[in-house]
Symmetry: C2
Subunit: 353 residues, 2 copies
């Protein structure tokens, strides 16, 4: 089989980790010989914005629909306000492409150390984030700008369709894991509309999954549980903002945000799904050649699973884990390797397959 | 001096921890002889609601304005939806009384253990939560209820006045602490209105505090910093929801939510401020006599500071810390004492003053 992937390296360390990943995945395809893969470069990002006034091309959705998947680096630049760059590129794709399921596996990875002494076996969680509405619906505004009586709103929009589809996806995800455990996170004690609807829809969808054990938690109390009883947690589902927060927390508790991957999925497969590291553009280390490529390797492995190359994905992850376990790590994980050193080590492992 | 305190024990373990605290504070006043204090019982809560159809009396704000402060237990009951009980009582006071500064000191307390390997000296943070608007403005609604196309909103409302006053309070709080360090938490990359206004107001207010070192962080990244670099954190300020989440996380990271106190302050002193443990009604242990009273003791100490009894507050905290350090702890902290055991031990310490 042959796959066409759109690569959007974007800003900051995005180009470094995406180039690292393309090297590794191309080596994998060549070595295994079971599939071929073609990465096509798409130059969207802050440079493109400075030249054209837009972060993406006008026909961006149609452009991406020609591909089987999208590999994304990062967006964000110190000289553009974050809300311009993020809504210009990443958030201009997640919602409009209906990539409603943001899946974030979190575990204590070889080479990382769980900082919690409550988690004797490290952490292994699956976080499912609603990715198309809620607090990221993009609504709200400012009135009386600059006056003492200025008022601004941020409007979270929740739909029954939006909640039901992510809930179903989350229950299916929980069912696919050995423990079949799901926690539905809301904040329905202080938020009386969309959050109460979340609770209602969760109860309805749960009826179709009698084999899944589920419970509900308030987002604030969930952070306490993640810290104090990490072993009681398995799969978590929540709103766009709640899971944005909990997924960063989870990655930090597991050992490092530097290895955390994410999949932005359209489970209906009408649109190509988008795979990206969680870490962001990290301008403090951009251009130094020391960015940790592991989160992007792992994101690419998730992409391979999604496009039907499950075996190849498993082989790739095996290679990456062996390299990390051998201590070939970038400085953020306490190692002394640079990005290319990690790439070369993974390619060597791939050659041995 | 003589002080009149409204006591609202409320639901669940609220009555147990409030009664424990009244015993201890009355003993303190009697022993020190430097002030007198009078607690008057106000029966608001779920029982009151079942009898009257309301969680509070109709003239609740005027009722409370007759007191110097309010000591609050907890609200919430398994047989009433949380959004009814919370908006019926606690949230009916915080906003309407303009208790805009919710102050939550968090530290690794004697008898608790910080679960983080990254914090060798335990944790000592000061969290300042905007407490009158934002995500808790109470706006939003549901349309097409029950239909497949149902849509619901939660509307966060931010005002320049509301942001400026909490920001000023936070900078002053940071200034009063040895490290003079403040982190302003927002989410202004995905939220483009109220959150951007937060950033703008922070920059303006900061100009009046050149002696305070401050930085900005996104709420998701802040969780990573709290876990990975706890020693880099001192005072934090953020929105109602963001700090609701971060304060629970902070308490868990410090060692236990069972000791975490909070002050709901009206810094203009037009209204009485309200002091409450962070833990909530905890129906699973209600009536068993094992609730941890330390969070309420600490909240009462904060109340004593607020009403001008700084010395008495310090003496009280000294007694409580000695008791905890001696291992006289409730089961949630791994101890074998019941609530009254802790009360008796603290009273014994008070007698020695
Ligand atoms: C960059 C930012 C807009 C983004 C988000 O808030 O979703 C990031 O934090 C993430 O988690 O993917
Ligand atoms: C009980 C609940 C409404 C409350 C809140 O969300 O503010 C609690 O979690 C808190 O932190 O005081």
């Amino acid at each position: 089989k042959s796959h066409r992937i759109a690569s959007i390296p974007g800003d900051g360390i995005g180009p470094e980790v995406v180039s690292a990943t393309i090297q590794v995945v191309e080596k994998l395809a060549k070595t295994l010989g079971t599939f071929s893969i073609d990465f096509e470069h798409i130059p969207w990002g802050t440079e493109y914005y400075k030249q054209t006034g837009r972060y993406v091309s006008e026909d961006c959705l149609d452009t991406l629909r020609k591909y089987d998947a999208v590999l994304f680096g990062a967006v964000g630049s110190p000289d553009v306000p974050d809300h311009i760059s993020l809504w210009g590129l990443l958030l201009a794709l997640r919602g409009p492409l209906q990539l409603y399921a943001n899946v974030r596996p979190v575990r204590t990875f070889p080479g990382t150390k769980c900082p919690l002494n409550t988690a004797t076996n490290g952490i292994d969680w699956m976080l499912v984030r609603e990715n198309s509405e809620g607090e990221y619906a993009g609504q709200g505004g400012r009135s009386h700008v600059g006056q003492q009586w200025e008022a601004a709103t941020e409007v979270a929009v929740f739909t029954r369709v939006g909640i039901e589809r992510i809930m179903r996806f989350a229950f299916e995800t929980a069912r696919s894991r050995p423990r079949k455990l799901l926690t539905v996170v809301t904040k329905s004690n202080s938020m009386r509309n969309g959050m109460v609807l979340w609770d209602e829809v969760a109860a309805i969808v749960a009826e179709d999954f009698p084999d899944v054990t589920w419970d509900k938690m308030l987002v604030d109390a969930m952070t306490v549980r993640m810290v104090a009883k990490p072993e009681s947690v398995d799969t978590i589902v929540g709103t766009n903002l709640h899971m944005d927060i909990l997924s960063d927390l989870a990655a930090a508790l597991a050992g490092s945000i530097g290895v955390a991957p994410s999949s932005n999925l359209d489970p209906t497969r009408k649109n190509p799904s988008l795979f990206e590291p969680v870490h962001g553009s990290a301008f403090d280390i951009t251009g130094k050649g020391v960015a940790n490529p592991v989160a992007t390797f792992w994101s690419a492995a998730e992409m391979l699973v999604w496009i039907g190359e499950k075996d190849a994905a498993a082989q790739l992850m095996g290679c990456v884990e062996r390299v990390c376990a051998a201590g070939i790590l970038t400085p953020d994980l306490g190692g002394t390797s640079d990005t290319q050193g990690v790439v070369d080590a993974v390619c060597l492992e791939v050659e041995k397959l």
